[in-house]
């Protein structure tokens, strides 16, 4: 087997040819988000044109830089090392792009930024606002290397942390991990070093490692960005963990929705094995580890660590009561350590650069950086990495580009559906667990979803509870029935059948749900509880005035053809678009049959003037004068 120095030397040759290619190179960002934006069509169109024109360029693959809003991305690299990111590049842009390259130039019209090298016309990437605020450590290589090449990773400092760790004792590695302050990124924020020490000192052989790559929180895609962009960072972290804990076998459990990640992680494992970085006696150190990739089959609960363990060992992915904790009895009843993808990926950085370097970023309480995925009602969907303590609102404004034109932020949904909701007035807070926890929400694993004035809090809560109910494993009655009851109550609000007494029932249900087995049930009512605290008026509007001011709840709205426009062309278009043919024509022009209408709103979208969105119920109470509800609710309602 080659020595590490030999591996690195061979890898560097590959890397040189990558950054200074002999002829222009086109790197297409191929990831799940890139594919969603049409990157495969762009790739195919480029491939065809290159072959046809014998264009003298090379077409290769890279991953996502996190600038999802600009995908499909094509980075053009010239022999002098100048690399220019282009996006969005559609098949129709291919002729122009290739022509520009033939002239030895990037296509300015589609250029996003220069990733390296100097071009006078195109600004360097670090002058972009979204780049300036970032500290890219975990994401350092994402979108700049071929994610399916171990050589690119090896040539850029990869596995150096491992080499250092292999020269250390288990206790020393654990001490460094503790000193770095690293805590688990999967949601619970437990110190990683402590968990490793539990496994190291646990009795029972063999010991197992699990990488939790279930990333079940809808709207969170930071783990995916790492797996698709830099898979070896995760593997290196796991090998270091094996050295620190004595584990000899590891499982990487990837959700079913991420087939590309399964593919890339499997390839990465194979490559590491070929290079002697996985398997028996790694680099002659005496440490051994083998990794297996397991693909899930569609279940949120398999992200909970005990559910995940059940799922790997041939049973339903149902969480069980802890203790025993996995470190005592986990996979196949053996001591097991479960960490999130991002947790493992931090480890090589700590070992390679040292604790002092690691702690240069972040805050006293929370060292290092964190990846966040931004989505929802903002201008730019993206994945970014910032130091802990960065201001949430600033992140939404700078990286996310702020609210959509003509709209304002209404709030934030963080930490997955069970993480809860904050109103816009509360989101100028540091990105750290504590300020979130103080507000009864969870910062969580990295998903940040922006809400604006077109969104209804009741509808969002109903979605959250629908999700919680749909994904409940149904073991505990509290969780199974509690979530169902919350859905029913919220659906009542949405259909104009809300009861004031429901506002007391919700805290009661939330309190009952706390007695569920696992955090799924316990956290299920978070969003509703937040809504009662931060959006009480909006709930009361739904219940008492039967009003959904955002115009979302289908039982509280109706669409009407405006009489003045009843004969307009535009309204005819709306009638043609109606999926249920609810438009009726008479002498007076068009009208909508309310019994047939499903309130999808396509007519209003097509004929903005001609079809109006109105309240379904007549105004009974003037706005803001909701009758005082009984009991404990009364005091707060007056706000």
């Amino acid at each position: 087997m080659a020595s590490f120095a030999e591996l690195q030397a061979a890898a560097r040759e590959q890397w040189t040819a990558w950054v200074n290619p002999p002829r222009p190179q086109l790197r297409v960002g191929l990831t799940t988000c890139g594919k969603a934006a049409g990157a495969l069509d762009t790739y195919a169109a480029l491939n065809e044109a290159i072959v046809e024109q014998a264009a003298g360029v090379d077409l290769v693959r890279t991953a996502c830089l996190g600038l999802c809003y600009s995908e499909p991305n094509v980075t053009v690299v010239f022999p002098d090392g100048t690399a220019v990111l282009h996006g969005p590049v559609r098949p129709a842009n291919v002729p122009d792009l290739l022509q520009a390259i033939r002239g030895g130039r990037p296509l300015e019209r589609l250029a996003v930024a220069a990733l390296s090298g100097a071009t006078t016309e195109i600004e360097p990437v670090d002058s972009l606002d979204i780049w300036k605020i970032q500290v890219r450590r975990l994401m350092e290589r994402c979108g700049l290397q071929d994610p399916e090449s171990i050589d690119h990773y090896l040539a850029t400092g990869g596995y150096e942390g491992l080499v250092r760790a292999l020269g250390m004792k288990a206790e020393e590695i654990i001490q460094e991990t503790l000193d770095s302050g690293l805590w688990g990124r999967g949601g619970a924020a437990f110190p990683t070093g402590r968990k490793w020490d539990f496994l190291r000192t646990a009795r029972g052989e063999p010991k197992f490692l699990v990488c939790n790559a279930d990333e079940g929180d809808p709207g969170a895609f930071v783990n995916r960005t790492l797996m698709e962009g830099d898979p070896h960072g995760i593997i290196e972290g796991m090998i270091i963990a094996a050295r620190a804990t004595g584990a000899i076998r590891g499982y990487i459990y990837i959700r079913d929705e991420y087939p590309l990640d399964v593919y890339r992680m499997e390839r990465a494992v194979e490559q590491a094995r070929e290079r002697g970085l996985l398997g028996e006696n790694i680099l002659g150190s005496g440490t051994s580890l083998d990794l297996v990739v397991v693909r899930g089959a569609g279940s949120y609960l398999c992200g909970e660590e005990t559910g995940l363990i059940s799922s790997i060992q041939d049973s339903r992915g149902m969480p069980r009561i802890r203790p025993p904790f996995p470190a005592q009895s986990g996979l196949f009843h053996k001591p097991t350590n479960v960490n999130n993808v991002e947790s493992y990926a931090n480890v090589p950085l700590i070992l390679r650069h040292g604790v002092a370097w690691y702690r240069e970023q972040g805050t006293q309480r929370n060292a290092g950086t964190k990846m966040f995925s931004l989505s929802g009602r903002l201008q730019r969907v993206c994945v970014v990495e910032v130091p802990f303590g960065f201001n949430t609102l600033e992140l939404l404004n700078v990286a996310g580009g702020g609210p959509l034109p003509g709209h304002q932020f209404k709030g934030l949904q963080s930490g997955g559906p069970l993480g809860g909701l904050l109103p816009a007035s509360e989101i100028s807070i540091p990105l750290e667990p504590e300020p979130y926890r103080e507000r009864d929400v969870l910062m969580g694993s990295g998903g940040l979803i922006a809400l604006d004035d077109t969104n209804c809090i009741v509808d969002l809560c109903q979605w959250v509870e629908w999700f919680a109910e749909d994904e409940s494993c149904s073991r505990c009655t509290t969780c199974r029935i509690g979530t169902q009851r919350l859905v029913e109550i919220l659906r009542r609000f949405q259909s104009g059948e809300g009861r004031v007494s429901d506002l007391e029932r919700i805290p009661l249900l939330a309190d009952t749900l706390r007695w569920s087995n696992c955090v799924h049930g316990q956290a299920a009512p978070t969003a509703v509880r937040n809504a009662l605290r931060y959006f009480r008026e909006e709930l009361l509007d739904h219940i008492q005035r039967k009003r959904c001011e955002a115009g979302v709840c289908r039982g509280l709205i109706r669409f009407e053809v405006s009489p003045a426009h009843a004969r307009d062309r535009e309204v005819e278009g709306a009638a043609a678009a109606c999926p249920v043919d609810a438009f009726r024509q008479s002498e007076q022009g068009w009208r909508i049959d309310q019994a047939a209408c499903i309130r999808c709103g396509v007519c209003h979208e097509v004929a903005h003037e001609g079809v109006r969105k109105l309240a379904a119920f007549p105004e009974t109470l003037p706005a803001g004068t909701a009758a005082t509800p009984p009991g404990q609710v009364a005091a707060a309602a007056g706000r």
Binding site: G219, A220, R295, L331
Partner: protein, 171 residues
């Protein structure tokens, strides 16, 4: 085995490497799904025997997961994203449009089995929200009018369904 067996690799060959007590159940089920497009109920006893489990235990697992269908998939599967970014930009309205135009509820299929609707989870393609996958290919961001047009095209057989590429095909 019924007629499914005729056109596919025999289960025994397919499940050659599957062993008991090794955490192979999900792998076995994925192998079956990949070969058959779904988990034929007849395959359950075979999988169970290979793994040293009872068929009931295997069935219990299959029913726990949402991506292990036990009936053949429709020719065209519309997977509707139930995620938050889609929801906040009209995803639920899009669901209602597909259901109304095709005349089937979620997880249902048209009587001829041609077009079906499936509830899917967000995979972080939120830059295309609101969207649906049609046989794996993302369609989005959709306006409501787009949704009506696509749903009608699917109903009338005029919508050109293009399969998504596999991951290994690009090299």
């Amino acid at each position: 085995m019924s007629e499914v067996a005729a056109s596919h690799p025999p289960l025994e060959t397919l499940l050659r490497d599957v062993k008991p007590n090794s955490g192979h159940l999900l792998k076995a089920l994925h192998l079956v799904k990949e070969a058959y497009g779904y988990i034929p109920p007849e395959s359950v006893p075979v999988v169970a025997r290979k793994l040293g489990l009872t068929p009931a235990a295997v069935f219990g697992c299959i029913s726990f997961y949402s991506e292990l269908p036990t009936t053949p998939p429709p020719k065209v599967e519309v997977s509707w994203c139930s995620g938050p970014a889609c929801r906040l930009s009209g995803g639920d309205e899009i669901r209602r449009i597909f259901e109304a135009v095709l005349g089937v509820p979620m997880e249902g299929a048209t009587p001829d089995g041609r077009v079906g609707l499936h509830v899917a989870q967000c995979d972080g393609s939120c830059c295309a929200a609101p969207m649906v996958w049609i046989n794996g290919r993302v369609h989005g961001p959709l306006t409501l009018a787009d949704a009506v047009r696509i749903a009608r095209g699917l109903r009338d057989g005029t919508f050109e369904v293009r399969e998504e590429w596999g991951h290994g095909e690009l090299r």
